[in-house]
Amino acid sequence: MTIGGHDVILPFGWEPEDRDRILRFFRHVWPQGLYEDALGAYAGSFSEALRFAPPSNEFFVYASQEAWTEWESEGASAANLDTMVHVIGDTTGITLVIDSPHGPMEGRLTELLEFLARNRLIVTRGGGRAA
């Protein structure tokens, strides 16, 4: 299967809550979307995955069940353009592999970046820094 695409690297080291953040974001973007971990060990709706999927810092989000089926059988194709994001997180950053950084994904990536960044800014009173 060919994935190809473009890597967009967000300059944040992976945090355990990042999968929760990313899935909660994408369940608004793609309400009928599907989560699948990189090993193929778990697949389900975003809301189910939020509750039941084992922790993972590498996974796929698909726009729909149909998009998942198309990707599984055909890989990247004109028919499934911009219907899947491959997420890879590590200590140096969060990589999003997408078809194109332009088009419908452009604004969404900006919004996801804002969401991930802003939720990293708050600190506790006991943490020694002001909120």
Binding site: E17, R24, F25, R27, L50, E111, N119, V123, G126, A131
Partner: protein, 156 residues
């Protein structure tokens, strides 16, 4: 039994960056455990599902640090039950209203929706409950505002 639960909570608070609470006041952990249990009772009353929130925190410490931070910030048991719904059932916040008039009144209204349907309303006149707003996952999606998630503040 209670000592064991207090020890569990003290450890979890430490993991949430709040270990200083127990060290500065020996009674603090006991008091917080009582509030957490009240929140569990509120959860059962509101949603009809029995839940031991301490056990939930033990089972999923990374997911529930924000609940403990809200607990330590004196958020009331009913609003803690709301937080637990967002964290444990992955409910979404669909409505928030905060009315405040200095020296006069404070009112917070929050509505959450379960992923499989069902809306739940929460109201509070306690100013301290506004703390929950600091932890909500605020996002824009296709140019429209959404609130989803409840996240721990960083402690370092």
């Amino acid at each position: 039994m209670s000592d064991g639960r207090e020890a569990d909570l003290a450890r979890l608070l430490d993991g949430a960056g709040l270990g200083w609470l127990g060290r500065s006041d020996a009674r603090a952990v006991s008091g917080l455990l009582g509030e957490l249990d009240k929140a569990g009772a509120e959860y059962e009353s509101k949603f009809g599902t029995r839940v031991d929130l301490l056990a939930a925190c033990n089972a999923r410490p990374e997911d529930t640090r924000a609940l403990l931070q809200a607990l330590a910030a004196s958020v009331s048991p009913p609003l803690l039950a709301m937080v637990a719904r967002v964290l444990l059932r992955k409910a979404e916040v669909v409505e928030v209203r905060f009315d405040f008039v200095s020296q006069r009144s404070s009112h917070l209204h929050v509505v959450v929706a379960d992923p499989e349907g069902g809306r739940h309303e929460f109201d509070s006149d306690r100013l301290w409950d506004v703390e929950v707003l600091r932890h909500f996952g605020l996002m824009m999606v296709d140019g429209k505002p959404a609130i989803d998630g409840f996240y721990a503040a960083r402690t370092s």
